[in-house]
Point group: C2
Chain length 321, copies 2
């Protein structure tokens, strides 16, 4: 009998990654094509399925494809659409209808953070959990919320925008057009902004004073902090304080068993986990204290996006069973 | 055939109200006993069931009791407990075990705001809705969250504490021991605090400058605002601004179809609904704008608590069907 695999597709602004993932979360094969963000969605999926069909040939004797799970920016699970993605020139487009032109397999789409949450539930840290939140700390802050074992899509498919809860309505300018959103503080770009604000507002000596904003990465800040750079450490503390404060608000809404941090900034490990946990505990209502775990992702970094996308299909199949 | 009714019980600090409610939300009979907050829970339910058994006699030819729904402060749906209720000298007590001593009927318990949310879903404004939030604006701010047609209890039964999300970690002292919780601003006592802060920080003339804090009620502030009192109007604007800001955060989490305002302060009508809606829209992420309804409760004020409590049982029976 052939072994079943799902296709996981992660659409990014630069690369579109895909892979074949089995029910145990083993990524049998992974590859990618350039997204060409200026081209429309149909052109991307036309090129992508030529590659998928071709690459699958050498697996087709042993494996059977059972469905297609897609993670994409601004994707709507209910409608199958991607709507005005910030880094792609797509406008509003029904991706699942396009996919149907190239494959008869069942398909499902959601945004990257929701895919990460389902990935953690099916293959990762949240296995066996029914109530948890995944926070992706990348360029922005994405989130996927699971309640009672089901991803929360809300009335319109767009729930889970914790990155756009407001820390301070007169705070930092956000890409969304408003001010003070959480992701302007707690994200890879947020901690960079904090470093530059601290460079301006304090006299703390720092090696980061030699680096321009455009050159600086979140990893540079983590490396400096590990070397004891006081300004970098202050930036991690400030980031964690704001993240802990707002996560305490999320706990007040949902009382999750765990919050899982995922993505680039989460790789800073204890630098972000230790103070965020401390501040979260400080800001939480008594009845929630010392109950909510703050955990790292257990999806292997290299395949995390594809695993998350494929989990979307594995999860749908579990519901049907 | 006898008509089925559920017993709804609402435990308050002063009175414990009960009633017999049919599947259509008609309250056939309602009465109450004094709670005696200094006595333990067993004594309350012992007295209560003597009264219920006695009062039901004149209905027993036509009606059949099908279950007992209880709304109580700090109640835990999963465990059947009430834990350290602020206005009752109960400690931690398993109420459903006590109830079993006095009645063989199936019983269920949750906190008052969750009961209100289920009441709105079964009998009120949220009929037919699958994703909504009920906010109770009384002495404090309570909330009940419904996702996918199910009340959100979270991992421990204590989800839905939107009143204890933090507006400002250096803000007003809250009864919970922390600072700046939403309920210190947006509630009947919150708007009183705002009036007194405005009396101190502004020179706005106001009839409320003649009233002491302990004498003032939220209704007095609404009456003054209706008479054009500028300070009272400013207090409603400030309350609404903070409520709108934090409700926008709740929308970012859950993308509900509607938010329903319930309880004393919601009776101020347009004074609270109009500016709260305006600020909520202002603070919401683009994708949510002009989608989320802000609606008043449709539970008849006199019986709202009992209807909500009874709805808990009607809802359980719907799930079994």
């Amino acid at each position: 009998m052939k072994k079943k695999v799902a296709i996981g597709i992660d659409v990014g602004g630069t690369n579109t990654v895909f892979g074949f993932v089995d029910e145990a979360g083993q990524c049998v094969y992974e590859s990618s094509i350039l997204t060409h963000a200026d081209q429309d969605a149909d052109q991307l999926f036309s090129r992508l399925f030529i590659k998928i069909d071709n690459d699958f040939k050498k697996y087709s004797d042993d494996y059977e494809l059972i469905g297609i799970g897609i993670g994409a920016p601004n994707a709507n699970y209910y409608k199958g659409t991607v709507e005005l993605p910030p880094n792609l020139n797509w406008g509003i487009v029904n991706v699942l209808e396009i996919v149907k032109k190239y494959s008869p397999l069942p398909s499902s789409i959601t945004n990257d953070a929701n895919a990460a949450a389902i990935g953690e539930m099916i293959f990762g840290t949240a296995k066996g959990m029914k109530d948890f939140i995944v926070i992706t700390l990348g360029t922005g802050l994405g989130s996927g919320i699971v309640v009672n074992g089901e991803l929360v899509y809300g009335s319109d498919g767009f729930a889970g925008e914790i990155g756009h809860t407001i820390v301070d309505p007169n705070g930092r300018e956000c890409g969304c057009g408003r001010k003070g959103c959480l992701e302007t503080y707690a994200s890879a770009s947020g901690i960079k902004r904090t470093v530059f604000e601290l460079i301006g507002t304090t006299n703390i000596p720092s090696e980061l004073r030699n680096v321009s904003y455009n050159q600086l990465t979140a990893k540079d800040i983590a490396d400096a902090a590990k070397n004891g750079d006081k300004l970098a450490l202050a930036a991690f503390d400030y980031t964690s304080k704001i993240l802990g404060l707002k996560l305490a608000d999320s706990v007040a809404h949902l009382s999750p068993e765990a919050i899982i941090l995922f993505g680039g900034l989460a790789l800073a490990g204890g630098l972000i986990f230790t103070p965020t946990k401390r501040y979260m505990e400080e800001y939480m209502l008594n009845i929630f204290k010392n109950k909510v775990k703050l955990l790292p992702s257990a999806l292997p970094g290299a395949h995390a996006a594809v695993l998350g996308a494929s989990a979307l299909i594995w999860n749908e199949l579990k519901k049907i069973k």
